[in-house]
């Protein structure tokens, strides 16, 4: 008999605690971001779409078509790199760089393995398209201009890579 009433009272107390938690939350500010008007604050290392930015000093991309990124890509999303050696320049360059945005898994392995920091994953996440053919992109022809925080991060990366390359080559 006593347990009957004790059960009721314990039950009511636990229910009131739950109600109290919900009530506390009425007075907190909403946490949503109103998307098209307010953009999210992405991390520096955010892995968006792959781009080959133009180096502002050389006014050209930094790729030498060494094919390391194509070898390490787990599902061959970097489809074709065409190497060309121009007269009078010691290093080869890439004439065409076909990248398949549809099959890329955004794993960052290609960026990590590139010795010249030629490619980087940008902040671009809104890459949906109506036409599947538009997802196969030629990164050299795109001439992407990188800007913002990501640009500084990228520049710091290629200073590191250049010194590592010099260490390796002597």
């Amino acid at each position: 008999m006593i347990r009957y009433f004790l059960n009721i009272i314990k039950g009511i107390i636990s229910l009131c605690e739950g109600l109290g938690v919900t009530l506390k939350h009425v007075f907190r500010k909403p946490i949503t971001l109103q998307y098209p008007e307010q953009k999210p604050d992405l991390a520096l290392r955010f892995r968006g779409r792959l781009v080959m930015p133009l180096d502002s000093e050389k006014n050209d991309n930094r790729c030498t078509a060494c094919m390391m990124c194509a070898k390490v890509c787990p599902n061959a999303s970097i489809m074709e790199i065409e190497k060309v050696v121009e007269d009078g320049k010691p290093k080869p360059k890439a004439k065409k760089y076909i990248y398949n945005l549809g099959t890329c898994i955004f794993c960052n392995l290609c960026v990590e393995v590139c010795p010249f920091a030629a490619i980087v994953m940008s902040d671009d996440f809104a890459t949906a398209d109506y036409n599947k053919d538009n997802l196969i992109i030629d990164l050299v022809a795109e001439k992407y201009q990188i800007s913002g925080k990501k640009a500084n991060w990228w520049k710091s990366k290629f200073k590191e890579e250049i010194t590592k390359e010099q260490k390796v080559n002597g």
Binding site: K10, G11, S14, L15, E17, G18, G20, V21, T22, K24, H25, I31, L42, A43, L44, R45, F46, R47, V72, C73, P74, I105, F106, C107, N108, L109, E112, M121
Partner: protein, 375 residues
Amino acid sequence: MADIPLQLEKGRETDEYILSMGPQHPSTHGVLRVVLKLDGEVVKDAIPDVGYIHTGIEKLLENRKYDQIIPYTDRTDYLSAVNNNLAYCLAVEKLLGIEVPERAKIIRVILAELNRIMSHLLWYSAYGMDMGALTPIIYAFREREEIIDMMEAMTGGRLTHNALRIGGFKYDLPSDFIPKLKKFISHFNDRVDEYEALLINNVIFTSRTKGIGILKKEIGINYGVTGPSLRGSDVVYDLRKIEPYSGYEKFDFQVCTGKNGDTWDRCIVRMNEMRESLKILTQSIDLLKEGEIMAKVPKIIKPAPGEVYAAVEGPRGEVGVYIVSDGSEKPYRIKLRSPSFSNLSVLKEIVVGYKIADIVAIMGSLDLVIPEIDR
């Protein structure tokens, strides 16, 4: 006046019928089909039917090099990607005989524990929605956003982190990681108390989960159940204590267990595990010292022929990776042991005798992730 029969005549007993809790159902947490044999509302038999999302990862991995495999291991148990990465990296490092530097070990522990909290928070929200409570999901996801921001600052991805590399890490912790971690630790304990008060201690919830789906010790051990589902039945089995890996022997934490093995105990085990993970995170900030983060690993990874098995305590149980190598740069066979597969196999034992509404409660408390089962 007709005679009132005292019991149904022979041949007029209620029929059993077969209900297929089909592949598309809001509370099977994925594409799982459970064929139920029901007698009215009481369950007589439950047969899981898996394979709807089989992608053939294990065969795919036979054609990839060792360092290309890490993004794939993210995607089996996508709620705690770092634990899967860790199991794989530990296996390959055992095969190559590499010793990972100290700082890398501690950072691995930090990421793994953050992932454990993330996974348990998602279990909490999904379980609340199964029970009919529609607010816990929003609160838990708010905490999850904070953790995901931290993981994104470190690895660059929100769900498929691809965080670890063989031998350590490629990039070190960013400068704003430790302040964010300290801020997270400062308020998370109160939040866990709030979540308990909102859902777990609620009288409606306890009357729906206490005494339901009791898993006995011997049955759990015989079927190979691991993780919080087994610890709810008062079995002290945690791989982080029994065979410590990646520096866990330096941390001081307790293994949470439950007493009776029913659904409520499994819930309490998970809530307590969140608190223990927070303790580990607090200790790890002090243990973090300056140092290297990457061991000396050959450029082309070609381990000697042999086989190795490495296991890790994930949020759902024991995540294992078994590699057979034949001396080339691609593995000969990789087998992934997923905890949800073994946990699901015990479904028939714990569901029989209860009602339809209890099935949802029991399956939710086992915390299954279906892509992990089908791989």
